[in-house]
Amino acid sequence: MFTLAREPINVSTLSRALHGDQAGAMISFEGWVRNVNDGRAVRLLEYEACESLAVKEGARIIQEAQERFSVIEASCVHRIGLLAIGECAVWVGVTAEHRDAAFAACRYIVDQLKVRLPIWKKEHYADGSVEWVNCQSDEIAEMKCL
């Protein structure tokens, strides 16, 4: 299951929902808001999503993980809105009979969601400036690649 959340992510509740007698291993990933990115002090973060598309694409990623790996349950929640330093921005939890599949599926989901979900992050810096991450003008993006 994939969901978007406007309120803080309750990891215990999510993780409990994955419990089941056959599951021997649970791997979870939590992405937390860091106070520094690319050397700049971050004050807070803002996530914006194209919700209909994000929910659809998120569900597709979860399903792909379930088809590729022997998992029992897989679930992901992504926050949207304003987040403070230290808050959980994304949670992924995977259960399986054995740990190999759980590690692999969790990794797959995290990697895919970072490149595929239509969600954008605006960083609010300590110096008062803001920036939509990865959305510099083509010229600046090219300069950074040189």
Binding site: G31, Y47, E48, A49, C50, S52, L53, A54, K56, H78, A89, V90, V110, L113, K114, V115, R116, L117, P118, I119, W120, K121, K122, W132, V133, N134, C135, Q136, S137, D138, A141
Partner: protein, 85 residues
């Protein structure tokens, strides 16, 4: 290139594009034959700083190719480089 007949479409803007266009969406009539051309027109109009190669595009909640044509009534979303997670 032939001009297609005008179709009524709906566009949603997110993140940087929302801020540059000053709106979260708009309805408009367009004669642009492809999604690429529609984006180029709006890029020029609003000064979007991103080439279409850096974006993806979706119509009616499905990802599309930039060379796809625009059906009447399309709900179009331009997707700047994502940064979830």
């Amino acid at each position: 290139m032939t001009q297609a007949s005008p179709r009524q479409i709906q566009i949603q803007y997110f993140a940087l594009l929302r801020e540059k266009s000053g709106c979260s969406g708009e309805a408009l009539a367009t004669a642009a034959p492809t999604l690429r051309q529609l984006y180029e027109e709006l890029k020029a109009k609003y000064g979007f700083p991103l080439a279409c190669e850096r974006l993806r595009v979706a119509v009616n909640d499905e990802f599309c190719s930039w060379d796809d044509s625009l059906p009447d009534g399309a709900r179009v979303v331009f997707i700047p480089p994502v940064s979830g997670g």
